[in-house]
Structures are given as structure tokens and as C-alpha cells.
């Protein structure tokens, strides 16, 4: 442990207050923690904590409410955008965000996310894509990459049999009601800076009433990928980003 040095120093990195000071249940190296921290920071930076209603979804991130200390309602599997629609319509002055994984959003909840986006609901959706069903033990997800082995495609995902991975940021961007859609990663400091900007812009579209805001985070699942956290993080750059290109796919503010 370091001793406090004589010279003046300032605390330059600490956890945001709205992020509960508790250990997380996430596995070592799981990047939900980083994304939770960014969401918490953005809520504080925009002064939204007091007026936020979060919608948690099913999967590893169902326990969002244990970590981000805002009013929260739990949605059935895939239905977070429909629940968030109900919340926002009932309480138009609230800041409403949903936090969903890939099985939840891109498979069982595909209708709900597409239609909430298409209606231009004034909500923000944080989508975490780690190419696998985490909580149920690593089964094939709609975003599983070709050749990727999971417990339900043990020989690797085969395009002819199972189709290819769905690229949600691009799909969402194609809908008229969407104000912002981007894909980011948190595998490096450079990408994290971009991710934070995208998350801020996602929230801003709701604050300004521009329309539906969507940000897809590429993230790791070392446990179900059966690799070390460091190797998992390396896979993001090597395999995921080439298959799921980062970038802003739609920004209403830049379309005039």
C-alpha cells in the first residue's frame, strides 16, 4: 500500500456517487461493470439522477438496480423497450433508460426494440453485446459470430444453419424515429473515450426530445468464451470490431 506523499495531489478518478459502493456479482473481466460506471457518470454529469427511471432486463444485467441507485422497474425478457415506453408515456418528465443484453434485445425482444425505436420513443437504450447468453451458461446468441463456439453451437456458429450475427446499431439506424444510433467498445482507452461520448449523445437525444437514442457496447464474456479476461479483451479488437464495426450510424443533429 502506498503512503501518502508530501506533495500536493488530487483525486482524479473515483466512482460516481450514484454507483453503489458494493462488490458486483459479475465475473472477473466482465465489462458490464465499466458500462454501468459510464451510465452512472452520464446520469450525474447531466444532473439526471433524481428524475431517472431505469428499466432493467433479463440476463446478467438484471441486477442493474443493485448498482445504479435510481428508481427501477424490472421488465420481462426482451420487453424492456415496451416497459420503458409505458414508463415514459406515464411520466413524460422522467429520464427513462433501458439496459439490455444481446439475447434480450436482439432475439426475444426484437419486436419491442424495433418498434420503440420506430415510434421514436423518447427513451435511451444501452445495449450490451457480448455475443453470447451469459446468465444461462453461454448459449448461442443472435449476435454470436460465425465460427464462434457456444454450448448450443459447439462446432461453431454456421451461417447456413443458424444465420449470421445481427448488427443492431445498423438496423436501428435505418428507422425513421431514431435520433441516434452508434456502436462503441470499451476495450481500450481510446475506444472508451468514444464510448463515453456516444453514451452522452444517446442520453442527450432524450433530454432534447430529438427521438430515440441507442448505443451498442461491444463487451466481453470471458467466462462463457472460456478465455482469460485479457484474452477476451484482445478478442474484441481482433474479431469483434471487424465483424461489428464501430461508429455512429445515425445522428439526427448532423443531418440538416
Amino acid at each position: 500500500m502506498s503512503s501518502i506523499p508530501e506533495i500536493k495531489e488530487e483525486l482524479v478518478f473515483d466512482r460516481p456517487k450514484v454507483l453503489a459502493d458494493v462488490p458486483s456479482h459479475y465475473c472477473p473481466g466482465c465489462q458490464h461493470g465499466v458500462i454501468h460506471r459510464m451510465v452512472a457518470e452520464c446520469l450525474e454529469e447531466f444532473g439526471l439522477v433524481e428524475k431517472t427511471i431505469a428499466v432493467s432486463s433479463i440476463g446478467c444485467s438484471v441486477f442493474l438496480y443493485n448498482y445504479i441507485l435510481v428508481d427501477t422497474v424490472e421488465a420481462p425478457h426482451g420487453r424492456a423497450p415496451a416497459v420503458a415506453t409505458g414508463v415514459k408515456r406515464a411520466r413524460t418528465d422522467a429520464f427513462v433508460f433501458a439496459y439490455q443484453g444481446d439475447g434480450d434485445l436482439a432475439s426475444i425482444g426484437l419486436a419491442e426494440i424495433m418498434h420503440a425505436a420506430n415510434r421514436g420513443e423518447r427513451i435511451s437504450v444501452v445495449f450490451v453485446n457480448n455475443t453470447v447468453y451469459g446468465m444461462t451458461g453461454g448459449q448461442m446468441a443472435p449476435t454470436t459470430m460465425i465460427g464462434q463456439k457456444t454450448t448450443t453451437c459447439p462446432a461453431g456458429r454456421c451461417a447456413e444453419r443458424e444465420g449470421g450475427p445481427m448488427r443492431m446499431a445498423e438496423l436501428i439506424a435505418s428507422l425513421d424515429g431514431v435520433a441516434y444510433s452508434a456502436r462503441v467498445a470499451v476495450n481500450s482507452i481510446k475506444n472508451m473515450a468514444q464510448a463515453k461520448r456516444a453514451l452522452r449523445r444517446t442520453f442527450e437525444t432524450q433530454i432534447k426530445g430529438e427521438g430515440f437514442g441507442f448505443v451498442e457496447f461491444l463487451a466481453t464474456c470471458p467466462t462463457n468464451w472460456r478465455v482469460s479476461p485479457v484474452a477476451a479483451n484482445e478478442r474484441v479488437a481482433k474479431e469483434m470490431i471487424p465483424g461489428f464495426p464501430l461508429g455512429v450510424y445515425k445522428d439526427a443533429a448532423k443531418e440538416d
Partner: protein, 79 residues
């Protein structure tokens, strides 16, 4: 001198902090915490090299790292 403090009870030993540290001064220690994770530490011999860039803290999925940066004067505020 800038420095980091790793909350060893929160650390899960994933070593993403070590992977991202530009000075390569973080590594696995020989200690295990109460949950059985082998925690990360700043190498004692290298700790002077810390610039307080906070890359490790940003990378840490468990938000287990606090960062203090030395303030020399008002001159240098940026990363």
C-alpha cells in the same frame, strides 16, 4: 508523485488494468483476497513511474481503483 490505490477486496484479478497501463507497472501479486482472487498490485520498484493517467481505473470492471495525480503547479492540467 502520482499513485493509484487498488481496493483489494473488490479486485477480481482480471488484470485488464495491467494490460492497459502505459508504463506496465501493474501485475498480479502473490496475495489472494477473501473471495479467493489473486489481486493486482503496483510493482513496488516501479511505482514512481505512475503518471496518474487513470487508464487502469477506467478499464477496471469493478471500479476498484482510485487515482491521485500530483499537482506540480497550475501549469499542467491536461492528460
Amino acid at each position: 508523485m502520482s499513485r493509484i490505490v487498488i481496493d483489494e477486496e473488490r479486485c477480481k484479478g482480471c488484470l485488464l488494468c495491467a494490460q492497459v497501463c502505459p508504463k506496465a507497472i501493474i501485475a498480479a501479486s502473490s496475495r489472494f483476497n477473501a473471495k479467493g482472487y489473486k489481486v493486482a498490485e503496483v510493482l513496488e520498484a516501479e511505482k514512481e513511474k505512475c503518471t496518474g493517467c487513470a487508464a487502469c481505473a477506467q478499464m477496471c470492471p469493478d471500479v476498484a481503483i482510485k487515482v491521485w495525480r500530483s499537482v506540480k503547479s497550475k501549469a499542467k492540467e491536461n492528460d
